[in-house]
């Protein structure tokens, strides 16, 4: 190698300036080199070319390696679980090709649920998917068994890891990883999550603080009030607003207490005679007391921007949306039905605010009463409050009630809301959605179906052929879309059975 380096040096400068020194070569090579050097029948450029050719072959034929005892690799632990049946693996590759993360999640859950793991050749591609889809990381790690646990540590791109504790990730992870830890911990152990956040709060920048507060609503309770109260004096306007928004969903917080107190002074129900004194009816009287300016710093607006809505009613409506319905009930000494009746006759905007509060404070009884009276508002957040089947019924009944020029966009919004909330659609709703989408092809693309196919009823397969766009030029596109939808649904229907071992 030393002689080869010498040759490179000579070749770099050129034989016009320097000649190869044979003495630099290994002893065994010298006799042959000397014969070349002694050949006077060729010029010194050709002699050099011959020396290069000889040294090149000497080098390439004499390759060797020195043992390195220190370098080693830990061997992956043996698997404790069984590999998936081949039918399931075949289906997995089809699902990956269809780019449906919805189906992939179902497949992975069934795989993990049945105690199977994927074979080693699939682990790298699943880890690549996991690195792009944080939601799938835990379940993918679970399906990759001991081999996956072992492999993950070698690739820095697969930063997600099951071996690190939440505290470790919280202390050393990226902002997004820490947000996920906080979100998860707020569901399982809200107090511990709050403690972690309080410990590092002063070291975080405003954007990171806002990021963490955006998931602090999980598991929120009155135990969080002290911490959130301290944030009222934060420098960042965004952080302050988020802190107020969180305080406004805790019934015992000073903000909500103050709102309730104002409402208590502002609202009065009086009985009035009607129909020549034969019946009496409730009448709501609104008289706003003097409101402290601090209330308006909590996000309450002073002026209405709707002509038909007075400023006082506008303020009451905003306060009502943040007052626990049970407190309004005892304040007015009326049942939910009576309150809903009163609001719907006298001030429908108050009924909507009352319904919003019912959803916000998770008062299902109150919500059901309000929905019975308020047919024009769709309470999107209620989809998370209601049991899945009821949420589907609620969505479908609202969907069916939409008519007129706005119906298409309202239905689109509703489809988006209901799928985003992961509410499963029953047969009738699924068919109705397919009919709607066939008539409005460009609004929901393949990505929509690949993401949400698991929410639809299998009956949609037949509906795809039954409905089609009115425009002829769209019909072949819908046919392609239909094939894709059917393919996705067929994949979904095969998932469970593909895991059954066939002899």
């Amino acid at each position: 190698m030393q002689f080869w380096n010498h040759i490179i040096q000579v070749a770099s400068l050129g034989t016009g300036k320097q000649q190869a020194d044979v003495a630099e070569a290994e002893e065994s090579l010298q006799p042959a080199l000397q014969r070349i050097n002694d050949n006077n029948q060729i010029d010194h450029e050709e002699r050099f070319l011959q020396i290069v050719a000889l040294a090149f072959n000497y080098r390439q034929s004499g390759a060797s390696l020195v043992p390195d005892e220190k370098t080693s690799i830990e061997i992956a632990s043996p698997e404790e679980k069984t590999y998936c049946p081949s039918a399931a693996l075949y289906l997995l590759s089809e699902i990956i090709d269809a780019e449906s993360n919805g189906l992939l999640e179902i497949w992975l859950n069934v795989c993990a649920g049945k105690g199977f793991i994927v074979p080693p050749e699939l682990i790298p591609s699943l880890f690549d998917i996991a690195s792009q889809n944080k939601k799938l990381q835990t379940i993918i790690a679970k399906c990759c068994g001991k081999r996956g646990e072992w492999l993950i540590s070698f690739n820095p791109d697969w930063k997600f890891s099951t071996s690190e504790s939440d505290e470790e990730i919280w202390n050393t992870g990226l902002a997004e990883q820490r947000r996920l830890v906080l979100m998860e911990m707020r569901t399982t152990d809200p107090a511990k999550a709050r403690q972690l956040l309080e410990e590092t709060w002063d070291k975080e920048d405003a954007n990171t603080k806002a990021l963490f507060l955006s998931v602090f609503g999980n598991g929120i309770s009155e135990k969080d009030i002290d911490f959130l109260d301290k944030l009222k004096t934060e420098k960042s306007k965004k952080v302050k607003e988020l802190a107020f928004a969180l305080l406004k969903i805790i019934p015992a917080s000073s903000v909500v207490r103050e709102y309730v107190q104002i409402l208590q002074q502002a609202l009065q129900v009086k009985k009035e005679k009607a129909l020549l004194g034969l019946v009496s009816k409730n009448v709501l009287q609104i008289q706003l007391p003097q409101i402290s300016s601090s209330v308006f710093e909590t996000g309450i607006e002073k002026l209405s921007n709707v002509k038909e809505l007075s400023d006082d009613l506008f303020i009451v409506q905003q306060l009502m949306a943040y007052a626990p319905p049970s407190e309004i009930k005892s304040m007015l000494q009326l049942s939910y039905e009576e309150i809903a009746d009163l609001f719907s006759h006298q001030s429908p905007s108050l009924l909507t605010a009352f319904g919003t509060a019912a959803v916000r404070f998770k008062d299902l009884d109150c919500f059901r009463v309000v929905v019975g009276k308020d047919k024009n508002t769709f309470y999107t957040d209620a989809l998370h409050l209601l049991p899945p089947a009821d949420a589907g019924d609620y969505g479908f009944s609202f969907y069916n009630s939409r008519t007129g020029t706005e119906a298409v966009s309202e239905r689109n919004n509703l489809i988006n809301a209901i799928t985003a909330a992961k509410v499963p659609l029953d047969e009738a709703f699924s068919v109705a959605v397919v009919e709607h989408l066939a008539g409005n092809m460009y609004i929901h693309n393949r990505k929509f179906f690949s993401t949400y196919i698991h929410l639809f009823h299998p009956a949609m397969i037949n509906a795809v052929d039954k409905f089609q766009p009115k425009e002829q030029y769209l019909q072949s596109q819908w046919a392609n879309m239909g094939d894709y939808i059917k393919h996705l649904m067929q994949l979904r229907l095969q998932i469970q059975s593909s895991f059954i071992h066939k002899p």
Partner: protein
């Protein structure tokens, strides 16, 4: 022939063809379909009014489709084969329709014609005259090549990166004029070295050495061993008659397809199939050149095994071969592997002693495992010797996952002290990487 999905997908020209082919592997896409021992066919409803007629000759895995795609095989061919692999029983029709019968008939006829065609009488005097004229042209070209090489070493190679590739291209063109096309390619290869990468000087001197050895070898070709003469003539650019080669008796074996390498230059796709004879332990390289828009005749799937008679091009180290006859095989004989890197080096040295300008070759070596050393992946043998993997190797995670850190038998390709894994044995089955 029973092919796996993985094997069929390895035939796809690109990722989108794989994806589209898979999407067509559903019953609803095919208006009609059928299969028998010789062929596979189907009519696929595309965007046109008439369905596309897709057919596969199973004896050679050759495709034909009436679709306008320039890809080969097209998504319809892949989709049909995937559907057949997935749902063989749905191919109930065994009688070839007219359009399939016609194509298969023509193929058989062409094959028979090739086999029976007698060579036309050759005008030997004219042939000799042409040969002498060519030899003179080559001799003149080699004279110029020698002068050029001497000029390069005399002036020094330090300034070559600044000068660019023009000097190599000009010399290459001169050798094309001198009817030495392969040698011209060797000169152009020298010009394609990355002059901004570390170690370019060594790579350039290596290539200049090979060129010098071939050029000087040709000058005294009469003094060389007849087989070595063939190697030199091949590297100058004399072509071999494939028809004449196919008339010779070949090597019968069960050949494992180790890998398929694809490269494209000037609208010509070159497919390099590396094969390994399970019983003869012979390595073979089968080349296929495909002009864009035309289909190749040969399709071999990495990991598959074929029983075939291979005719090797004459050489002191026979490697390049033609497939004379082939049928599918399920032979799972274990390969005879080198025990460690020292044995690979010994085999390498022996090969270089016979053919000093030979290119890279595959080697099967047992008891190796991937390890990380100085931030670079290596293959460690049982003696703890570390062979660095080529930095461009991008399938390390799959290799690592399959190995689990344990020793296994691998097939690597390369020369000297840099190798790239082509595949490995996992649960007694070869997995191409």
């Amino acid at each position: 022939m029973q092919l796996s999905e993985e094997q069929i997908l390895s035939l796809a020209p690109d990722e989108s063809s794989k994806k589209n082919g898979k999407a067509l592997a559903t019953l609803s896409k095919w208006v009609s379909k059928g299969a028998n021992e010789r062929a596979l066919w189907g009519e696929c409803q595309g965007s046109g009014s008439k369905p596309y007629q897709t057919q596969v000759d199973l004896s050679t895995t050759s495709f034909k489709c009436s679709c306008p795609s320039r890809k080969f095989p097209c998504k319809h061919g892949l989709g049909l084969m995937l559907l057949y692999a997935k749902d063989k029983l749905s191919f109930t029709d065994t009688t070839m329709p007219g359009w399939v019968d016609e194509w298969i008939g023509k193929r058989t006829e062409r094959q028979e014609k090739k086999e029976t065609e007698k060579e036309k009488p050759v005008d030997e005097a004219a042939q000799l005259k042409r040969q002498k004229a060519r030899e003179q042209k080559i001799a003149d070209g080699l004279e110029e090549l020698m002068l050029w090489m001497k000029d390069v070493v005399s002036n020094g190679i330090m300034n070559i990166p600044e000068k660019g590739t023009a000097t190599f291209e000009n010399m290459g063109r001169r050798l094309i004029d001198a009817q030495a096309p392969t040698l011209a390619g060797m000169v152009r290869t020298a010009g394609n070295i990355n002059f901004y990468a570390e170690g370019w000087q060594s790579a350039l001197l290596d290539q200049l050495s090979r060129i010098y050895l071939v050029a000087t070898g040709y000058k005294r070709i009469e003094t060389l061993d007849p087989m070595l003469q063939q190697d030199i003539r091949t590297l100058i650019g004399f072509s071999q008659s494939q028809e004449a080669l196919l008339e010779q008796t070949g090597v019968n074996d069960h050949w494992l397809v180790l890998a398929k390498e694809v490269s494209e230059e000037d609208n010509i796709t070159t497919e390099r199939y590396w094969l390994y004879g399970l019983h003869t332990q012979q390595t073979a390289l089968v080349l296929q050149f495909i002009v864009r828009g035309q289909g190749g005749q040969l399709t071999l799937m990495p990991g598959a095994c074929i029983q075939a008679e291979l005719v090797f091009y004459p050489s002191v180290l026979p490697l390049r071969a033609l497939i004379k006859k082939q049928i599918a095989s399920n032979d799972t004989t274990s390969p005879k592997a080198y025990k460690d890197w020292d044995e690979v080096f010994e085999a390498q040295a022996l090969n270089f002693s016979k053919l000093p300008f030979k290119g890279y070759s595959p080697y099967i070596v047992e008891n190796v495992r991937p390890v990380l050393h100085n931030q670079q992946w290596h293959l460690q043998d049982a003696k703890n010797c570390l062979m660095p993997l080529k930095k461009t190797f991008d399938n390390i995670w799959l290799l690592l996952s399959l190995s689990g850190g344990d020793y296994t038998t691998m097939c690597v390709i390369g020369a000297e002290k840099t190798f790239t894994p082509l595949g490995m044995w996992y649960n007694q089955t070869y997995k191409a990487l």
